[in-house]
């Protein structure tokens, strides 16, 4: 087991490297390069020069884009490994670390809150639904889940933002309230997007819970537990849930990248300065160092999370052994 752990941990490194190379390359080959955009902006907003006249070589040099790609990549990776320097934005010249330091807590808080809410909603409803299959409670639970799946979260978010403003003259806070400054205000601000996100996540989780519970409940060992005279609660919690949770954890694990890359839409509508927004902005303006750096960090985080999920398999199902 320990050997497996160490091996898996070490295997994260090549995966991350591969991803970083792919992202690096892909971002350069996407049409619409950053120099063109800067030149167009200077032409539009600046001294009203013809874009064709604007000298771009100095921009290229200043941004370090005048060397071949493998040199750029080498410099970038080298900077990270030797100095911990993740590079700076091409547009603002602000170091990536500064950006991340401010944004990761926001996304993390939002993800954690929505995941918790999602689980809190999904598991009880899923279990209840499974044990009361085809009764009204089951139908209610499934309807709720499907509604959660059907209505897009950006739609709900927009309505929450717009409709109260029109009817009551109230809107959720439009300015980010840091946790340290005003914990209650902060939680209040995050609550709305977290609920919206959590409900959407809970839908899929609930259905999976219900399905796997249904399957597990048919099994022999459940019948044995039941015939032993154990209470419903014991049977469900100790035996059924643990075994049903394998695919559930997998689904959860699959959710993590989505959550960590930020609920971009929620962040945009509710003006939360998180990672998702950073990525979108960076992609839109082709801010290569930001794109590469953020992806590198997130890839590493996600891989660690996945490893944790895989480890939990072994804990949950003793039959699964890692050699």
């Amino acid at each position: 087991m320990r050997g497996y752990l160490i091996r898996r941990f070490l295997l994260i490194i090549p995966t991350v490297l591969i991803v970083s190379i792919l992202v690096f390359l892909l971002s350069r080959f996407v049409p619409g390069n950053v120099i063109d955009m800067m030149v167009m902006e200077m032409s539009d907003l600046g001294e009203a020069k013809a874009a064709a006249d604007i000298n771009e070589d100095w921009i290229r040099e200043k941004l370090g884009l005048d060397v071949p790609i493998h040199v750029q990549y080498g410099r970038w990776i080298g900077g990270i490994l030797t100095r911990g320097d993740f590079g700076a934005s091409l547009w603002t010249q602000r170091p990536l670390i500064d950006e991340l330091r401010r944004r990761i807590p926001v996304t993390f808080e939002l993800s954690l809150m929505s995941l918790t809410l999602g689980l809190l909603i999904a598991i009880p409803i899923g279990v209840y639904s499974a044990t009361r299959q085809d009764t009204i409670s089951d139908y209610i639970g499934r309807t709720f889940a499907i509604v959660g799946l059907s209505v897009p979260n950006f739609w709900v978010g927009t309505m929450v933002m717009v409709i109260p403003a029109v009817i009551w003259g109230w809107s959720p806070p439009v300015e980010y309230i840091p946790l340290v400054e005003d914990p209650l205000g902060n939680l209040g601000q995050f609550a709305i997007p977290a609920v919206i996100m959590g409900t959407a996540t809970s839908a899929g989780l609930m259905r999976m819970t219900r399905t796997m519970m249904l399957e597990v409940l048919r099994n022999d060992y459940i019948r044995t537990a039941w015939s032993k005279g154990l209470t419903e609660r014991t049977v469900i919690l100790r035996h059924a849930l643990k075994n049903a949770s394998l695919p559930l954890i997998t689904m959860l694990g699959a959710r993590i990248p989505a959550l960590l890359s930020g609920a971009v839409i929620m962040e945009q509508i509710f003006t939360l300065p998180g990672m998702g927004r950073l990525m979108i902005q960076a992609i839109n303006v082709r801010d290569y160092p930001i794109i590469s750096g953020v992806n590198l960090i997130m890839a590493s985080l996600v891989l660690v999370c996945i490893l944790a999920v895989d480890i939990s398999y072994a804990w949950l199902d003793p039959r699964i052994r890692y050699r």
């Binding site: 049409p31 009203a48 921009i59 547009w91 603002t92 010249q93 944004r103 933002m161 439009v174 003006t271």
Partner: protein
């Protein structure tokens, strides 16, 4: 089955919830009220006729409402407004485009600036809505008290006394003098690796900057560049303290200037907070004796999402919103009647550009271009899609009062041009047949999704004359690249900036080569160019330049090198407790969003409306 019925009920609840949440009573169309006039003496009734016979000019304040609640200047309060994206930086040498260093415009100053008193707050000579206007008679001195040009190579500025730097590093409140100005000019123009330096050719470079005494700056420049430097040094050079040296300003802590506000915080991608500068030197130009600024604090909130921004305006969380689209503006007028507003034309218009350098394509034939333009029913677009809130002829100058001496209205243009802006599908088919396309042709246009709606209309209208248009919708960044390189295969949808009055040749120099790829303009234009326009390059006085554009405009229109699409109106709205504001945006060239210097907040009025 009972269960089934319950099931159905539950399903219906879901549906009903969706419907209810999206349902609003259909807005009734009421005639919009004409509010208090801001500028000009034309009353609502008269202005219809005035427009007919006059110049086709659109008054910005024709549709306006400025409530006279917060009339008396008051000190104190916080001014809040929204930014569409975060401040990119604080140093134009890093960020390259000083419009993206928005805080500079209220924390720092230039040698001269626009005169607020010549705007709607005072005499109303200019609206200060359009950026980029450099009209020396509408400027007043800021850092410079006065200036002169003793000969064709020299600019001489007298520096104002009594201006102090902000009380922070590295200048710590000392008095500003000529050395700072000289340093700043050098900083803008003569440092390699900065945008201005790299884009200036050697023969145009500044020859010398001298400070004969503590209060005078003398700049020597090559003779043919005097006009350009007069504008650049006077209106576009931010003055920094000499202590900065070679350093760049990388964060808000390092931002230093002489302006009315001092940055006290910048939460990245969230907000900027500025405090009042108690030692600011300037007085309110329309209320002499009042030291500026009035508000204690200014807050800029970064709100990217449009719906959220509008909600913030409706709930009083921001004090002013610029750039509302016409439908949002109209709705807010009805839903929040307490808001003030003006309606204006923005300085960019959407155009369809064509590759005229490819002989195999139909577009180098003037008849085809005219036909394509005639096939578009602009009036129907304006009435149906924009519901009246757009203008069809904004070319090459916007029909606004600030440009009224250069705008040549449609009825003074040639007959062909007038015809082109009307809907004549039959004539279009005729012209196409004449040009050798009796059955029309197929083409495609590169665009991004914002133009897709309008182009869908164009597509349908062109199909009536046999031209099949395919929409090639690209992602915005890719589209920008194509714009820059002229990489479109056939057609391109892009905007044009309509304020090139000071460079009437910009059309010939910039847009045609870039978008139409016609590097050789034909002989007629070259003759015209050499004879009439060449002598005026770098000329000082604007009236000459402006007159030239008036002459040039009909010819440019006849060339029909781009097909214009209607430009829509936008609204700027602000709360009733903001006083002294009339929708201004840019008070003089080089300034963006510097109106917070001059306005005030009336807290009593605010408390009336919002209870806080």
């Amino acid at each position: 089955m009972r269960k089934g019925a319950i099931w159905l009920c539950l399903s219906c609840i879901m549906v009903v919830a969706l419907v209810l949440s999206a349902c609003q009573p259909a807005p009734t169309t009421e005639p919009s009220e004409e509010g208090t006039r801001v500028v000009g003496e034309v009353t609502p009734g008269e202005e219809e006729e005035a427009q007919e016979e006059d110049k086709g000019i659109v008054e910005p304040s024709e549709e306006a409402k400025v409530v006279t609640e917060a009339t008396t200047p008051k000190y104190g309060g916080t001014l809040t407004y929204a930014l569409v994206s975060d401040i990119r930086g604080f140093d134009p040498n890093i960020v390259n485009v000083d419009a993206e260093c928005l805080t500079l415009h209220i924390t720092n100053e230039e040698l001269m600036t626009g005169d607020w008193a010549k705007g709607p707050a005072g005499t109303g000579d200019v609206s200060w809505i359009m950026p980029g206007l450099f009209i020396p008679e509408h400027n007043r001195g800021a850092i410079a008290e006065s200036w002169e040009m003793p000969d064709e190579q020299t600019l001489k500025y007298s520096i104002r006394r009594g201006i102090h730097w902000h009380d922070r590093a590295p200048a710590f409140g000392r008095e500003l003098n000529a050395e700072d100005v000289a340093y700043s000019i050098h900083r803008k123009y003569l440092i390699p690796g900065t945008e201005v330096y790299e884009n200036t050719v050697e023969e145009d470079r500044i020859i010398s900057i001298e400070t004969p005494d503590k209060w005078t700056v003398v700049v020597t420049v090559p003779a043919h560049t005097l006009g350009a430097y007069f504008q650049g040094i006077g209106a576009e050079t931010w003055i920094f303290p000499v202590e900065l040296g070679d350093a760049n300003i990388t964060s808000w802590e390092g931002a230093i200037g002489t302006g009315p506000y001092i940055i006290t915080d910048h939460v990245i991608d969230s907000s900027v907070t500025l405090d009042r500068n108690p030692r600011y030197w300037a007085e309110d130009p329309v209320h002499p004796g009042n030291r500026l600024p009035y508000p204690d604090k200014v807050r800029q909130l970064v709100i990217e999402d449009q719906a959220t921004r509008i909600a913030a305006l409706q709930t009083g969380k921001i004090d002013r919103y610029r750039g509302l689209e016409w439908k949002d503006g109209e709705r807010l007028m009805k839903g929040n009647p307490e808001l003030n507003y003006i309606r204006y034309l923005t300085h960019v218009s959407p155009m369809i550009w064509m590759r005229m350098d490819k002989p195999e394509l139909p577009f180098d034939d003037l008849r085809v271009r005219r036909a394509l333009s005639m096939a578009i029913d602009r009036d129907a677009i304006i009435e149906g899609y924009f519901q009246g809130n757009a203008e069809k002829f904004c070319h090459p100058i916007l029909p606004v009062p600030d440009m009224s001496d250069m705008f040549v209205p449609l009825k003074e243009q040639s007959a062909e041009t007038q015809e082109r802006y009307e809907h004549h599908p039959d004539k279009a088919r005729e012209l196409l047949a004449e040009a050798g396309y009796p059955n029309g042709f197929k083409t495609s246009i590169v665009t991004h999704k914002d133009y897709a709606d309008m182009l869908s209309i164009v597509k349908q209208q062109w199909s009536e004359v046999g031209v099949e248009l395919e929409l090639d919708v690209r992602e915005r960044g890719a589209w920008r690249s194509i714009m820059r390189g002229g990489g479109h295969e056939e057609l391109l949808a892009a905007q044009i900036t309509n304020i090139y009055y000071y460079r009437p040749l910009a059309y010939l120099e910039d847009y045609i080569p870039q978008y139409n790829r016609s590097f050789g303009v034909d002989e007629y234009v070259e003759e015209y160019f050499e004879e009439k326009l060449q002598p005026y390059i770098g000329v000082l006085t604007d009236d000459v330049l402006r007159a030239n554009l008036r002459e040039l405009a009909p010819y440019l229109c006849d060339l029909c090198w781009a097909i214009e699409l209607p430009s829509q109106y936008y609204y700027t709205m602000w709360q009733p407790w903001v006083g002294g504001y009339h929708g201004e945006y840019s008070v003089g060239r080089g300034n963006h969003e510097d109106w917070p210097k001059y306005v005030w907040i009336d807290e009593d009025v605010k408390r009336q409306y919002t209870g806080r």
